[in-house]
């Protein structure tokens, strides 16, 4: 049994603590260190916001896919292999000229891993968790996003296993761009709602 103060018997340096934990688990056959390496590698190099960006770019390019995405994002993302751990139920919400969606998890830091990878530090920060629901406009202003008063903000507090993906507005001047070129404009923050999609570079 554990009380709530086991840490008082352990080093304060988390690196030492993790090392001890990994060693104990390894010796008991409860973990294979090579599997830890593989999990780190996967989230450092394979699973990231490019997956969500592909979904958004396809929605921008393919009206039928967009309709399916808004109707049942879990199934639509599954088509693209972007469903899985911490993202088994997905809802996509679409920004427009007068509506802006913003995703937060006030109680912990729920985040659509299969679409965006692991969350950035600011998403997990106490400042973001506490403020996004009570003062979303001042939060967005800190990200450089000043919204007009007539824009409605919809904040999604992820209190269950539903994970939210924001479909940002498609930038002007992107007609005819291929999905890969479009995906390059879709930033991580634009899919959380703390940013907009990038403008395409002006052509010479």
């Amino acid at each position: 049994m554990a009380d709530h103060h086991h840490h008082q018997h352990l080093p304060s340096d988390p690196a030492l603590r993790v090392k001890a934990l990994e060693t104990v688990l390894t010796e008991k056959g409860l973990i294979d260190p090579a599997a830890i390496d593989a999990a780190i590698d996967a989230y450092e190099h394979k699973v990231g916001p490019h997956r969500g960006a592909r979904v958004v770019a396809r929605a921008w390019s393919d009206q039928d896919f967009k309709r399916r995405l808004l109707e049942d994002a879990t199934r639509a993302c599954d088509e693209m292999g972007s469903v899985g751990a911490q993202g088994s139920h997905i809802v996509a919400v679409e920004n427009g000229p007068k509506i802006h969606n913003l995703v937060v998890c006030t109680l912990c830091s729920c985040y659509p891993w299969p679409l965006l990878g692991l969350p950035p530090a600011w998403y997990k920060s106490f400042a973001y968790r506490s403020r996004a629901v009570i003062e979303p406009r001042s939060v967005l202003a800190e990200f450089g996003l000043e919204l007009d008063d007539d824009v409605e903000i919809q904040v999604w507090d992820s209190t269950a296993e539903i994970r939210y993906l924001v479909i940002p507005q498609r930038p002007e001047g992107t007609d005819g761009l291929e999905p890969d070129a479009l995906a390059a404009l879709v930033t991580r923050d634009s899919m959380i709602g703390t940013g907009r999609a990038l403008q395409p570079e002006a052509k010479p």
């Binding site: 993790v18 973990i31 593989a38 400042a127 406009r137």
Partner: protein, 219 residues
């Protein structure tokens, strides 16, 4: 529980600190914590809802001065000690007891990628009909349990409108306590900012929360 983790609407945490070109893990040990969470053989009784609860029961001052992966580490330590996967003496020594024969069924490196795309749906088929329909007005109950719940304090007692119905999902309150999945219908409920924060709030803004049937009452 009305814990320090329930921080929606709090003041005093300062500006949001942004970091350009942020790495996935800032320290090597953070990656190890994350990897352990993905690769370890979980003890019977452990589940994701309990995992959240283990971080909520940290002493509040420790919670606030710990980083995200420090809180994860604390929670895993707590759970593995609680369920007897290891002892505090073993953890202090940094070595497992020599007496026990190790298990040989841990996840292997080549199995990891399958876990990433492995779906773990929390929806369940239940016989109970949904009590509410999209468009219904509902009030979040004023519940103050001392155990795990996903009804934040800022929404309690507030009235909103059902926006989405997700079918029935595992109830975290029950699941985290080891009392079974007890699935209930789950709804996204839209609350106006004025309802949540009073007359000074923006007249246009909404906050949506995913709330289970037993969190709600009809208006």
């Amino acid at each position: 529980m009305n814990g320090i983790h329930d921080m929606g609407g709090m003041h005093g945490f300062g500006p949001i600190e942004l970091e350009a070109n942020e790495p996935v893990f800032h320290e090597t040990w953070e990656g190890r914590v994350y990897g352990i969470s993905r690769a370890m053989t979980r003890p019977d009784g452990f589940n994701g809802d309990l995992g959240r609860y283990t971080r909520e029961i940290m002493p509040p001052d420790l919670y606030l001065r710990s980083s995200y992966y420090e809180r994860w580490l604390w929670g895993f330590e707590w759970a593995l000690l609680h369920f007897g996967s290891m002892t505090l003496d073993e953890l202090k020594a940094g070595e497992g007891s020599k007496a026990a024969s190790p298990r040989n069924d841990a996840l292997t490196a080549d199995q990891v990628s399958a876990t990433i795309s492995h779906k773990m749906p929390s929806d369940r088929a239940i016989d109970t009909k949904a009590g509410y329909a999209v468009g219904d007005r509902v009030r979040a109950k004023n519940l103050n349990p001392s155990h795990h719940t996903r009804l934040p304090r800022y929404a309690r007692g507030k009235t909103g409108t059902v926006r989405l119905h997700h079918g029935a999902h595992v109830l975290p309150d029950s699941h985290a306590q080891g009392q079974g999945e007890n699935p209930e219908h789950l709804y996204t409920v839209a609350f106006t900012a004025k309802e949540l924060w009073g007359e000074d709030a923006s007249p246009r803004d909404l906050v949506m929360l995913d709330l289970w049937e037993s969190y709600l009452e009809p208006v």
